[in-house]
């Protein structure tokens, strides 16, 4: 097993200060939300009960946090041990994405003090997609913290307890199963929305499409985060591994596009692309953004250049995020004249949560053994 070590260094850096400021602003608005209610900080309405918080903080943020899941699947299920050095940093990024998604739920749900009822056995509604998502995400957050706990044990006591190592294979297996379920279910939520969603998005295959893009987003985020943090923390880029890893992105994207266009064509709805309305426009933009990474990463020699990897990852992340925003907000039309654009304070709460996420990531990688040791030549 490779050597992992804390990066060390100062915590209270200039970027950290800026993030702290954003987090504090977000925290103030969160306090306002809990004192004066959701209406005081958001533009949510009966037509759009799910706004920025659910769509970004939960749906998108957990998809972006699929790096840990995608890497665990690759390393432990498909047994590609050569990628193992990337697993732990991906896991840390995932942990904060998911944990703060759970926090965001508390802010977003109107009667948050009732939320615990979801987990009370007599109240379990096993026929509900929402229950599936809620229980899966909650359990997965717990699982991920267990998965990361060896890093803490190592740092604190110098070794990982034996019993933890013994059960870890089971924890990891569950940790791969759960996101497979709830990332699909997050898309499945929208099936219930029926004709409020354009047929270009609304198909019975939304769960599959959400799952494929979530896994691909996982890889794209691992590439993005690795390059970005290597640059920020002054570390060499794991170029060999990343260029090998990045080849999954075009394959998965093509699978996604084939399935998506196939289903739309099978339903006879391809003509909707040429209606030149908002849905058609967003669909074209999405498709172009999805095609970019395929074009950039298609040839093996292109995958050797770090800039190409970065650009492809960024385009796929934008495409995947836009796909989720389109499905839940932009193309979603509840009718009856409802409109939605997140309010300033609503956005600042999300910004604050993201800032907190990055701050925690920075603390963790500097204080716990997350990144592989740099081999000095």
């Amino acid at each position: 097993m490779e050597n992992l070590q804390p990066l060390g260094g100062k915590i209270w850096t200039k970027p950290f200060k800026v993030l702290t400021l954003l987090a504090v602003i977000g925290g103030i608005f969160i306090a306002k939300r809990f004192i004066f209610g959701i209406g005081s900080v958001t533009n949510l309405s009966d037509g759009y009960p799910w706004g920025l918080w659910i769509v970004f903080d939960v749906v998108t943020s957990t998809a972006l946090a699929c790096g840990g899941y995608a890497m665990a699947m690759l390393v432990y299920i498909f047994n590609k041990q050569e990628y193992h050095p990337l697993v732990r940093s991906a896991l840390v990024a995932s942990i904060f994405g998911y944990t703060l998604a759970g926090l965001a739920i508390f802010i977003d749900v109107g009667r948050y003090w009732q939320l615990y009822n979801v987990f009370i056995p007599p109240y379990l509604n096993v026929n509900s997609v929402m229950f599936e998502v809620a229980s899966c995400i909650a359990l997965y957050v717990l699982i991920m913290w267990i998965e990361l706990s060896p890093a803490w044990f190592k740092q604190r006591y110098g070794k990982v307890p034996g019993w933890l190592n013994k059960i870890m294979f089971f924890i990891i297996a569950i940790g791969v199963l759960l996101p497979t379920m709830h990332q699909a279910s997050l898309g499945g939520l929208m099936i219930a929305m029926g004709e409020k969603l354009s047929p270009l998005w609304q198909t019975q295959f939304i769960p599959a499409l959400f799952l494929i893009t979530a896994i691909t987003l996982g890889y794209a985020m691992v590439v993005f985060e690795s390059i970005f943090s290597a640059n920020q923390f002054g570390r060499p880029v794991e170029m060999k591994m990343l260029s090998k890893l990045s080849r999954f992105i075009p394959f998965l994207t093509i699978a996604f596009l084939v399935l998506r266009f196939g289903v739309i064509a099978f339903n006879g709805d391809l003509g909707l692309i040429f209606r030149f309305d908002l849905a058609a426009l967003m669909f074209v933009i999405e498709t172009v953004l999805f095609v970019f990474p395929v074009v950039i990463l298609w040839k093996p020699e292109n995958r050797q250049k770090i800039n190409n990897l970065f650009r492809a990852a960024v385009f796929f992340v934008i495409a995947g995020v836009l796909y989720r925003f389109d499905t839940f907000i932009i193309v979603f039309n509840p009718g009856h004249g409802y409109r939605y654009f997140p309010a300033f304070q609503e956005i600042m709460i999300t910004v604050g949560i993201i800032a907190l996420e990055i701050m925690l990531y920075m603390i963790f990688v500097k204080r716990l053994p997350i990144f592989p040791q740099v081999k000095h030549a």
Binding site: I306, N307, V314, H336, R339, F344, I347
Partner: protein
């Protein structure tokens, strides 16, 4: 059904004289529906109505206003009155008897003796019990004595109206006459209570026809009321119920909500605690809305013991089913706002910073790529 329609013409006289076949059929169908019987029972009801052996009915009046008799005679379809007088043998009724005085008293006692154990006793009005019942006397006998004498000889007793059912208006505080319902005093025979002020005429017609058709009494609830008529709260079938559930109330008479036909609960409507079928069968055969709530006045609970004449008219009712919440969501929800200035600035700044940062970072990476290439 064909046997009811003679070959030659539809409009023949029915066995009940003075009623066209069409009206007769209509009446029987309405009655069957009111009793809650399936449509297939119409024929049986008709057969029962046409039976020449008419059951004797003795109708006693005590402390009352004759409103129930009036509503039975007037508020129904005109032909029904004929029909009722023809299908039953009304041997004694102070309102309808042509005879008077000792003559009619004799007729009463002759009928009671002749039909002992077979006649239906209808009681209208409460029985005063204070001071040995001296507040209501007929032919020198108190109401208590008359009931004690005639009551046990009947096959069954129908207490029509709230007075006979539980005391009615006379039993309101301080109840100086000690007014009491029939069922308190008459224990020997089954008593069917048909409360209401006045009782809906269809409920007594249905009860009597039920008995004639099926030769048994209809199912009764704990208060002795037929379930088919009193099984549900007015609140449950009220035409204004959706307004209650959505929090749209008339706050005072003549206000905007009152004119819009909103729920009258806050004006003291006793629908939530009164059992009766008023919202379903209405009153007076004059079409929709012909019942108190339909005309814009809260139900005052005339049919419910302890509510009508007991609670103040505008006191809010106890709600046994779903209680209205203290606050309601607006039913005119905001439709959401478009993009705000602050939000636009934040999104624009974030997008701009991301694009600029991304381009700059991409440039840095490109340079490092180039230097790598040069090295190689």
């Amino acid at each position: 059904m064909s046997s009811y329609f003679p070959d030659s013409e539809m409009k023949t006289e029915s066995p009940v004289s003075g009623v066209s076949r069409r009206d007769f059929l209509k009446f029987c169908t309405i009655m069957t529906a009111t009793m809650g019987l399936p449509a297939g029972m119409v024929e049986k009801v008709m057969a029962a109505v046409e039976n020449p052996k008419r059951p004797p009915v003795i109708w006693l009046h005590f402390q009352e206003c004759t409103g129930c008799t009036e509503s039975l005679l007037r508020a129904t379809h005109p032909t029904v009155e004929h029909l009722v007088l023809d299908i039953i043998s009304l041997d004694y009724s102070e309102t309808l008897c042509a005879a008077a005085g000792h003559q009619v008293e004799e007729a009463l006692h002759a009928s009671v003796e002749a039909n002992k154990g077979n006649f239906i006793l209808v009681v209208e009005g409460s029985i005063p019990t204070a001071d040995n019942g001296i507040y209501c006397k007929i032919g020198g006998k108190t109401a208590m004595e008359i009931l004690k004498d005639i009551g046990p000889k009947a096959a069954a007793c129908v207490a029509i109206g709230s007075c006979a059912s539980w005391g009615g208006v006379q039993s309101a505080y301080p109840n100086p006459t000690g007014a009491t319902g029939v069922s308190e005093l008459l224990k020997e025979v089954p008593v069917i209570n048909l409360p209401g002020c006045p009782a809906s005429p269809y409920n007594i017609l249905s009860t009597i026809l039920y008995y004639l058709t099926l030769k048994k009494l209809p199912a009764l609830d704990g208060e002795g009321r037929p379930v088919f008529a009193y099984g549900r709260l007015i609140h449950e079938n009220c035409e204004r119920r959706p307004h209650f559930d959505n929090g749209r109330f008339a706050e005072e008479f003549g206000d905007e909500g009152h004119r819009q036909g909103y729920c009258l609960y806050k004006l003291g409507c006793k629908g939530p605690e009164t059992h009766a079928n008023c919202p379903s069968i209405l009153f007076g055969d004059v079409g929709s809305n012909a019942w108190p709530v339909g005309t814009g006045h809260p139900c005052f609970g005339c049919a419910e013991k302890g509510v009508g004449f007991h609670k103040p008219i505008h006191e809010q009712a106890a709600v046994y089913t779903v209680a209205p919440p203290a606050t309601y969501p607006d039913f005119d929800e905001p439709k959401g706002k478009g993009i705000g200035v602050g939000a636009a600035l934040v999104v624009g700044a974030a997008a701009g910073a991301a694009v600029a940062g991304g381009l700059k970072f991409s440039k840095v990476l490109k340079e490092s790529d180039n230097s790598e290439e040069k090295k190689n």
